[in-house]
């Protein structure tokens, strides 16, 4: 607990240093109080109680009036303990909670990038166990051997699926496979170890005992968190150009808005710097950033238009007309468009060619999402099905019947394991996408969700009229649990677009009254990869990344349900090849040669004994074969018997 609190404090105090009015005396001795932060917000000009003083702090009276939201690092027992037993707080705890503070009443300083040495808490002294006694000759290592690695983390990094069985291969190939597997294991352990180096930890929101987190208002969250995070909660009041669609760029740094009545804007939402703002004088159906924040695709009333970040129209794509929804597949540089005419069109934005135009044959398409794991496009239809599309295939790869009415919204989580759908039957369902396409959980909502979105860490947001609900999985992992929402928020208008901001704990909501940026603690991946998508990248870095990304553009033909299949052994064609080879050669070169008894010395190699030996081996082989076939028969019998096992029926006697 202590190290985490200390670290995040260190992360936040850069904002705080210059802004707050001076409260504390800069002497270090006074910084050891329990309740420093609360006092800051209330603005009391009090000094923290000195250690050992019996007087309960003044602030307890305030807390009795109204329960103040507390920050996560404040010990749960701290105020109550202070109130109930006014004795001196334990020294150990105080030490842990004392944190570096900067003199607030000093003139505004330049932020120092280096932590001052005396402020660094010596936590190592606290938890280092005394350990075995050191001798001058050589100290014993109390933690001998490599540090243990949690199995879960190792599994996350493993790329070989050991459950899949490969056909029997020659000993040489087999040994090579074994070596590769061992190497893979070692690598995944190493990668799991390196996770220790990650700097940030995910956010969270927890209610006190019995408190429902969904009842916590956004304003309360904003008040409780540090200023930098609080600034991420804002409302853009744009009633004039009515309901808004929005889209965050892949780095999470930029936000594009498209109002139904033609208002298109792009801004750096962190610094609130406007990049461009135009009115296209035409209905805007959807808006989407392309691979970087410099290009913007807007689905307008008739055609698809592409703008740059100055708001200059670069292209008008007339082959894509009456587009309702846009999706950008970043690794393929494909812009998937769903149109009113029922066509799903893939536009390659790197060369400007249409890769595929697929007729979904299901009428107007206005529900679309992509599976970020395998770049399959999911379309929701009015007959309650969701169809899965790849540009390589003219027909849908799969059709899933999800709802009794039409499908209103679809969302897929970033790992590609879960799909959330909502329909006109007011149901919200979560499906397993790994092979079976079975519903995992379902829930009826009073209004039904019109918009759905998944966050990077698996939070599910739904827009229900003018309310936004967010569900989280148990323990922040796995499929979201639909029992009770994690967060709710009421807006000033009906929801029209939803998206979680990548790498920030923020949920952007476009609605008829403008755009709202909600705080959703724990939504985003805390540690980004600088080479993949870096929110802090410079222009030069972006340009280099762009070149790399274009070089690695994945061809559209490779989009399939299992992207890992490309790096696995192709068993089917292997066996086909083997068969062809046998046919071509006229014999099986890998077949086991028939047993040939070795000639023995001293007259034991008579014809009779040779035949005898040969027969012995052949009999043994025959017995093995019979044994195996018996085993198989038994297995088949068992499999047949299983389904009837639940409840014996009178008709069982006819089962064979």
């Amino acid at each position: 607990m202590a190290p985490r609190g200390l670290r995040t404090w260190g992360g936040a105090d850069w904002m705080r240093a210059g802004r707050l009015p001076g409260v504390f005396n800069p002497t270090v001795g006074q910084l050891r109080g329990v309740c420093t932060c609360v006092a800051v917000r209330v603005g009391l000009m009090e000094t923290a109680p000195k250690p050992g003083s019996d007087v309960p702090p003044k602030k307890d009276r305030l807390q009795a009036k109204r329960k103040k939201p507390r920050r996560y690092w404040e010990e749960e027992t701290a105020p109550t303990a202070a109130g109930a037993s006014p004795g001196p707080p334990r020294k150990q705890k105080k030490n842990r909670e004392a944190r570096p503070q900067k003199p607030k009443n000093a003139p505004i300083q330049k932020k120092s990038r280096f932590p001052k040495k005396p402020q660094v808490p010596k936590k190592s002294q606290e938890w280092r166990s005394p350990g075995p006694q050191r001798s001058l000759s050589g100290a014993q290592d109390p933690f001998a051997g490599p540090a243990p690695v949690p199995v879960e983390v190792v599994r996350k990094f493993r790329r070989i699926d050991k459950s899949k069985k490969l056909p029997r291969s020659k000993s040489k190939a087999q040994s090579r496979l074994d070596a590769a597997e061992a190497e893979e294991e070692e690598i995944s352990v190493k990668a799991a170890r390196s996770e220790l180096l990650l700097a940030e930890e995910p956010g969270f929101l927890e209610g006190e005992d019995g408190e429902d987190t969904a009842r916590i208002r956004q304003a309360d969250i904003a008040e409780a968190v540090d200023i930098a995070s609080a600034a991420k909660h804002f409302d853009l009041n744009l009633r004039q150009f009515g309901p808004y669609r929005l889209n965050y760029s892949r780095t999470g740094r930029h936000l594009a808005l498209g109002g139904r009545r033609g208002h298109v804007a792009a801004l750096d939402w962190v610094t609130k710097k406007l990049m461009c703002e135009i009115n296209v004088m035409e209905a805007v159906r959807d808006i989407r950033f392309l691979h970087s924040e410099a290009l913007l695709a807007v689905a307008q009333n008739r055609w698809l238009h592409i703008y740059d970040n100055q708001g200059i129209e670069l292209h008008c794509v007339r082959r894509c007309d009456r587009i309702t929804r846009l999706e950008f597949l970043p690794f393929h540089f494909l812009l998937a468009t769903a149109s009113e005419t029922g066509f799903l069109t893939y536009l390659d934005v790197s060369v400007g060619k249409i890769v595929a135009a697929l007729n979904a044959r299901a009428g107007r398409l206005d529900v679309m999402t992509q599976n970020p794991y395998n770049a399959i496009v999911h379309l929701g239809h009015s007959n309650g099905t969701v169809s899965l599309w790849s540009p390589a295939v003219k027909e849908p790869l799969a059709k899933i019947l999800c709802h009794r009415g039409g499908v209103r919204a679809v969302a897929v989580d970033p790992t590609g394991t879960h799909m959330a759908t909502s329909g006109l039957d007011h149901q919200l369902k979560i499906f397993d996408l790994r092979g079976t396409f079975q519903p995992l959980s379902a829930r009826t909502l009073p209004q039904g969700a019109g918009h759905l979105a998944f966050s990077q860490r698996g939070l599910l947001a739904a827009g229900l009229g003018d309310v936004v609900n967010v569900w989280a999985g148990p323990g922040g992992a796995g499929a979201p649990c639909l029992e009770r929402p994690y967060l709710t928020h009421r807006l000033t208008g009906h929801v029209h677009g939803l998206q979680f901001c990548p790498f920030e704990d923020v949920l952007g909501v476009g609605h008829s009254g403008g755009v709202t940026s909600m705080l959703a603690p724990g939504a985003a991946e805390p540690n980004f990869d600088g080479l993949e998508s870096n929110p802090y990248r410079s222009r030069k870095q972006r340009q280099e990344w762009e070149v790399k990304a274009l070089l690695e553009k994945v061809p559209a033909e490779l989009i399939c349900l299992d992207p890992r299949a490309l790096a696995e052994v192709d068993v089917v064609s292997l066996e086909q090849e083997k068969k062809e080879r046998i046919e071509r050669l006229g014999y099986d070169p890998e077949a086991k040669a028939p047993f040939q008894p070795k000639p023995k010395q001293k007259g034991r190699s008579s014809t009779a004994s040779l035949v005898k030996r040969k027969k012995k081996v052949m009999d043994e082989e025959h017995r093995d074969k019979v044994r195996q076939s018996l085993k198989q028969q038994q297995q088949q019998k068992q499999e047949k018997a299983k389904p009837t096992g639940a409840r014996p029926s009178a008709l069982d006697r006819f089962v064979r």
Partner: protein
């Protein structure tokens, strides 16, 4: 309520001054690096770039006035190479300067063989004039004549020579295999098995008392220097021109055969070669192992040289130029980076062993990128598209048409064999594998 929001300090992610490097925090979580196909595309790009940068030809050393007949490496200096020509001239070359530093008229007629002493101070040549000559590696000082240190006059023509790897002993071949002490003018012992001329003799670099030779009566004979008689021999379908010992595995050697193939044998079991290497379309004249023992290079009469992995039957690389004629001798340099070949049209050519390798000092990032690309290429090597690109080589028309022709011939033979099996009593026609097909007998 306990709440924590993600709040990053930009100072931890943005460089401080313009003089710093950009900060790039990494997170290797597979969820942030989706798409296996991206790796495939990277591998494809790497394979294409490998073909783009495949420029193996480095230099041609010209100066000989007749075809180059034999080559020798200097055991101590990477930059020095010796070559003997068909007009009896021996030249010593400096590879860094790519210049001839010394010329000796060593023999009358061909220089048949050349080898260096293990210490690198002198070298031996044999020629058509029935002599063995020892020469100093350094040139004569001012005013001295170019004279051999020793000259041995023999009775018959010597066709090859090789020096022991550790001791002052060398072996010559001709009518018989002779083993000489450097100090004496008569051989310590001479060994024969049959009555045919022996074309080359090679010392084993690890088990240094072992020798291998190949004779024109189609056999490869192995000798032990410590005993007076040969060890054993294997008879093949056609004549073997020369053999090369694996410098890492003492018992492995490769024979360059007249039937366009190379055979890698395990000395302990000569009845079946470990591998038959076939890609050449004419007689293979010379073979030399890489110092790593994983690959070898072969020179052929079909005007090309090929590089084979020891455990593969097909070559991984073929080098040819328009002007290169029948390649007579080939050597892999001791740093395993270059290949030299001497050919009929009087030139010695220098090639890179790895065609697309970048020469010179690499930065650590370059090295890392190369390693990563190499691994990717290995991982996806069996994908048809990548395999096609990495295998594609331009061949001169003569070789290309020969390959087509031989493919047709081979197909016809195979079809005939299949028909014979089909129309005869089951079991009466024995199927002989390609490996065993070319071995006539093993004699001990």
């Amino acid at each position: 309520m306990k709440v924590k929001m993600l709040s990053r300090n930009p100072d931890n992610y943005v460089r401080e001054t313009k003089l710093d490097l950009q900060r790039v925090p990494r997170n290797y979580d597979p969820a942030l690096h989706p798409f296996e196909p991206r790796e495939y595309v990277r591998a494809l790009n790497a394979t294409k770039l490998e073909r783009v940068f495949a420029k193996p030809f480095l230099a041609s050393l010209d100066g000989h006035r007749d075809g180059v007949n034999c080559l020798a490496k200097h055991p101590k200096s990477l930059a020095t190479v010796l070559s003997g020509a068909c007009d009896g001239e021996v030249r010593i070359w400096n590879l860094t300067k790519r210049k001839c530093i010394r010329t000796i008229q060593a023999h009358e007629g061909f220089v048949r063989g050349i080898c260096t002493r293990f210490c690198g101070t002198s070298f031996f040549t044999v020629g058509d004039d029935k002599t063995v000559k020892q020469w100093k590696m350094d040139g004569p000082s001012y005013g001295e004549d170019e004279e051999p240190l020793h000259t041995i006059l023999g009775k018959t023509v010597y066709t090859g020579i090789d020096h022991h790897w550790k001791e002052a002993i060398f072996a010559t071949c001709g009518q018989q295999v002779d083993i000489w002490d450097e100090q004496r003018t008569n051989p310590i012992c001479s060994m024969t098995w049959g009555f045919d001329s022996i074309s080359s003799v090679k010392f084993n670099p690890i088990e240094t008392f072992l020798l291998g030779s190949c004779a024109s009566d189609r056999n490869i004979v192995l000798y032990d220097m410590r005993q007076a008689t040969p060890l054993k021999k294997v008879i093949l379908d056609m004549r073997t021109n020369t053999i090369g010992w694996n410098p890492m595995e003492a018992f492995i050697f490769t024979a360059a055969n007249e039937d366009y193939n190379l055979y890698t044998f395990d000395m302990r079991a000569l009845d079946t070669p470990i591998m038959v290497h076939m890609d050449h379309v004419s007689a293979v004249l010379d073979v030399d192992y890489s110092p790593t023992g994983k690959e070898f290079v072969s020179a052929s009469f079909d005007k090309s040289i090929r590089i084979f992995p020891v455990d593969k039957s097909r070559s991984r690389e073929v080098y040819h130029t328009k002007r290169m004629q029948h390649v007579i001798c080939v050597k892999w340099t001791s740093d395993s980076k270059y290949i030299m070949c001497g050919s009929d049209e009087m030139n010695i050519r220098l090639w890179k062993a790895n065609a697309s390798e970048k020469l010179g000092v690499l930065t650590s990032r370059e090295k890392a990128a190369t390693d990563y690309n190499q691994r990717l290429k290995e991982k996806f090597q069996h994908h048809p598209h990548i395999k096609r690109i990495s295998r594609h080589r331009h061949l001169p028309k003569s070789i290309y048409s020969q390959i087509q022709e031989q493919r047709i011939m081979k197909e016809a033979r195979r079809r005939k064999e299949l028909n014979r099996i089909k129309h005869s009593k089951p079991g009466s026609v024995r199927i002989v594998s390609e490996k065993k097909k070319h071995i006539v007998a093993v004699v001990k």
